[in-house]
């Protein structure tokens, strides 16, 4: 008796005190819709389908949309954003190939701007791996409890926790079948087992389970027990992540809220209860389908649905998504987790039901993933390398805000392991050069047209040895203007400028732009002997793309508590780190990299009118292939190389550039068109000589920005006024 009292206490106490450990839910940035947004009907439909909206012909259930010629009528689901909660909303979108034309609400009124709901991209679950989305009874389709009762526990409404008749029936069925086909456990017993016990089946454990189930039944209403069951039960495994509860299972298998499931989908989830691994609808679709149809049959027999409904539902395909959703972006989630670990303990993230709003843009993320996978496979073929060894990483930001919108950590984009974007610290190579020239321009002694000497350099080092760098071509170009030295990434000219300006000043520039560790001030620093992860390279280039302002790169916008309060915001911050005019001059030169220099090969992959600025980087012996560059709205940094630091045999232009250009082209970005600061003037100079010229009297002219009032030597014979 004492033991029974003890069990009763334990069960009651735990059930009442039970707070599901609620993993933090992580959301992507919502898509902002407004008239003028360059989004085609096809792209809009893709965005809706990413959120698992269903195209229908009639009806107005949330989560559906209708299309007639260029009009989309979308029944938006209720949505929670970082700053507001929105009820289900009907939205009329007029859209054509030129983009979104207008938005109207149900009453026909103009809507200036409206967001789609944010895509759930993952959750931060504890080490033991239980992930779940808790649903309230209102969010459960009424058919689900009926189906569970019909299939798992026919006497649920009347029994007291155990059902001896069900046990006998199960024994009889199993005896006849010669194998275990039915369990006699009630839903309450299953709940107890999942809550308190491990699944080892012994008679003493069975007895304890029965007592605990009866204790629960004595103290709690059937509805509470049913809701607990719906949120508790194990329904699948995704790597180390255990899928618990029907709320998450619905997202995991169908990518949409539980409330939107149809009869066949409810039946499939109920089918999976019996054996989430054996009836896994992705791995064993035939088994899952047979069991689902059996469930439908039993539902009809028990009167939960009509026979006609059951046979219609049995005609439906399984309807599970190809990949587990929320679409799984491990490298990005890795960055989110690291950001949050600065402020939060593990328990807060895995138990407190926080909602994390991030800057991830699924469209950009998918472009980046696709371009990296595709181009690395091509490089394997072209260079006759065994498939799959070459690696890469990508970071994409929105430079003005510092939002990190995409991260790819390797060519196996779904692999949650070594995240090269954050952890592969690789030699920066020539990506350092824009910062050398920026420092030179800031000194006031250089501009884009200044002629510098690309000639052999011999530096005696402190240890007595000599440093004799070379150009990649092993040739020298002699006197060249700065714009050409940077565009063609001439090592010798750059080393000359760097030594003249001073290593300390250049190191300081890099630190102003966000380098956290002071670089070792040796001459080799001028050729990029600085090891950085792609995300750190992106931090540096973000300052160039943002006109001399540094924003800490951020993935997380806000952390919201379960009850909707902002727990922590990560507001936009900017810090001026260089004169906008100096940065503008460098950026203009980086545009020439794309037209005349090492970025030229990428030009053919880009829309012809798109103005972009960029810089290639190749470390010694071709170990690292980098390309970093930006448009008006995006910064993309790409690294390609081998994990074991073996030479790849190609430069930044051959390896990383095509990946970069494919991403840039796919982003649908706008041109770099920063307004020239008032203190500068635009002049035409000859690209080979740096002499001022004009069409008709000079060759190979390029436009550069120089400080207003600077007198440049003119090409003889040019009459310039």
């Amino acid at each position: 008796v004492a033991y029974v009292v003890y069990l009763d206490r334990q069960v009651t106490h735990q059930f009442e005190g039970r707070r599901w450990t609620l993993p933090a839910q992580v959301y992507a940035a919502p898509l902002e819709l407004y008239a003028g947004l360059p989004l085609t009907p096809g792209e809009l439909e893709r965005e809706l389908q990413r959120l698992h909206y269903q195209r229908v012909d009639r009806g107005d259930a949330p989560g559906t949309y209708r299309v007639s010629s260029e009009r989309f009528e979308v029944m938006l689901r209720p949505a929670r954003f970082e700053d507001e909660t929105r009820p289900a909303t009907r939205l009329l979108i007029s859209v054509n190939a030129a983009g979104v034309q207008s938005l109207r609400d149900a009453a026909g009124g103009d809507v200036a701007v409206l967001r789609l709901e944010p895509l759930l991209i993952g959750s931060i679950f504890p080490i033991h791996g239980e992930d779940r989305i808790v649903v309230t009874p209102a969010e459960v389709p009424p058919l689900l409890p009926k189906a569970l009762i019909a299939v798992e526990d026919r006497n649920f409404e009347t029994h007291h926790g155990v059902d001896p008749l069900a046990v006998l029936r199960a024994m009889w069925v199993n005896l006849r079948a010669g194998q275990i086909e039915q369990g006699g456990s009630t839903l309450t017993q299953q709940l107890v087992r999942s809550y308190f016990l491990n699944s080892r089946q012994t008679y003493s454990r069975k007895l304890r389970e029965a007592f605990m189930a009866m204790a629960l039944e004595a103290r709690f209403a059937k509805d509470d027990l049913m809701n607990a069951y719906i949120n508790e039960i194990f329904l699948g495994q995704d790597g180390t992540r255990a899928i618990h509860g029907f709320g998450l299972a619905s997202q995991f298998y169908f990518g949409k809220p539980l409330a939107e499931l149809d009869t066949s989908q409810v039946a499939l989830l109920v089918a999976v209860v019996r054996g989430p691994s054996y009836y896994d609808p992705r791995r064993h679709p035939d088994r899952a389908r047979t069991r689902r149809d059996l469930v439908l049959k039993e539902m009809a027999e028990q009167g939960a649905i009509s026979a006609a409904e059951a046979s219609t539902a049995a005609q439906r395909p399984l309807g599970v998504t190809a990949r587990p959703s929320g679409a799984y972006y491990p490298a990005y989630l890795d960055f989110v987790r690291r950001t949050l670990h600065r402020d939060y303990k593990d328990e807060d993230l895995t138990q407190a039901g926080l909602r994390i709003y991030t800057s991830l843009e699924p469209r950009a993320q998918e472009e980046a993933e696709h371009a990296l996978e595709h181009e690395l496979a091509r490089l394997d073929r072209v260079h006759k390398q065994p498939h799959g060894r070459l690696e890469g990483a990508v970071v994409v930001t929105a430079p003005q805000s510092g939002d990190v919108i995409a991260i790819v950590g390797g060519r196996d984009v779904g692999y949650d392991g070594f995240d090269r974007a954050l952890d592969a610290h690789r030699s920066l190579g020539s990506l350092v050069k824009p910062f050398i020239y920026l420092t030179a321009l800031e000194s006031g002694r250089y501009n884009a047209a200044t002629v510098v000497q690309d000639v052999p350099v011999d530096v005696k080092l402190a240890n007595g040895s000599h440093w004799r760098p070379e150009n990649f071509t092993h040739e020298v170009s002699g006197p060249v203007p700065v714009v050409r030295a940077l565009s063609e990434s001439l090592n010798l000219a750059t080393v000359g400028v760097g030594l003249d300006v001073g290593l300390a000043k250049i190191a300081a520039t890099l630190q102003r732009f966000g380098l956290t560790q002071p670089p070792v001030q040796v001459p080799a620093m001028l050729l990029g002997a600085v090891d950085l992860a792609p995300i750190e390279a992106a931090q540096l280039f973000n300052g160039l793309a943002n006109g001399g302002f540094r924003n800490p790169l951020r993935a997380v916008r806000a952390v919201i508590s379960q009850d909707g309060k902002t727990v922590k915001a990560f507001p936009l911050t900017v810090t001026p780190v260089a004169a906008p005019a100096a940065v503008y001059q460098v950026d203009r030169m980086l545009v020439h990299v794309m037209d005349h220099g090492t970025g030229r090969a990428g030009r053919t992959l880009l829309p012809p009118q798109l103005v972009v600025a960029g810089k290639s980087g190749t470390s010694s012996d071709y170990r690292d292939s980098w390309f970093a560059g930006f448009s008006g709205g995006h910064l993309v940094v790409v690294w390609v190389g081998y994990d074991d630091d073996q030479p790849t045999g190609f430069t930044g232009s051959a390896g990383a550039l095509p990946v970069w250009a494919h991403i840039m082209a796919g982003l649908g970005t706008t041109s770099w068109n920063t307004t020239m600061p008032d203190s500068l003037a635009e002049v035409q100079i000859e690209y080979p000589t740096g002499l001022r010229g004009a069409p008709g009297c000079a060759e190979d002219l390029v436009a550069v920005a120089v400080p207003a009032g600077v007198e440049l030597p003119a090409k003889p014979g040019c009459n310039l006024q």
Partner: protein, 183 residues
């Protein structure tokens, strides 16, 4: 107080925006110091007439083409929403709403000024200063926007007790757009 100033600064933009519809999209011209996509040249908005400052502005070395930044319809709606939220005093929400607008028009100096004003109202004078400077870097050619940016910088410096620099910034503002300066 800062809210009233913001409304004055951005009010002109609203007028322009209401008349102009959505921002212009499409391939912009090659960079040549020209217009920003949202910065189509417009006639100067009607501003309440104020007595001109006695001090004449110094002649600039380079005369940029006249330009008037304005906000597109979506950004205007969001800024209006932010102002409504500001009345309830939730700076987190206000800030998030203006950031939404900035994601749509990241190169619009008026939005940076708006966000800077909000930072100042929230007590972050350093960020207000930085955002003023960011706005300034985007406002080439638009005297009124530059004046608003300088005024924000001046207020931000003053809030940090850097009175000398604040006075310099205020003089910059006055010299650029006398009609926008305070009495």
């Amino acid at each position: 107080m800062s809210w009233r100033i913001t409304l004055v600064a951005v009010g002109a933009a609203f007028l322009a925006a209401c008349a102009s519809g959505p921002p212009v999209h499409g391939p912009p011209p090659l960079p040549s110091g020209g217009e920003s996509p949202a910065g189509t040249a417009r006639p100067a908005p009607s501003v309440p007439a104020q007595p001109a400052q006695p001090a004449a502005p110094p002649a600039p070395a380079y005369t940029p083409p006249p330009k008037q930044f304005h906000l597109g319809a979506p950004a205007t709606a969001l800024v209006q929403q932010a102002h409504a939220q500001a009345k309830s005093g939730d700076f987190g929400q206000v800030s998030a709403t203006v950031e939404r607008a900035l994601r749509i028009e990241p190169d619009n100096p008026l939005l940076w000024i708006e966000l800077g004003r909000m930072r100042l109202g929230g007590g972050d004078a350093q960020q207000a200063d930085a955002m003023g400077r960011k706005a300034l870097s985007l406002a080439s050619g638009d005297g009124a926007a530059q004046a608003s940016a300088w005024r924000l910088i001046a207020d931000a410096l003053q809030a940090q007790g850097r009175n000398g620099e604040a006075a310099d910034a205020a003089r910059h503002a006055a010299s650029l757009a006398p009609q926008f300066s305070r009495g």
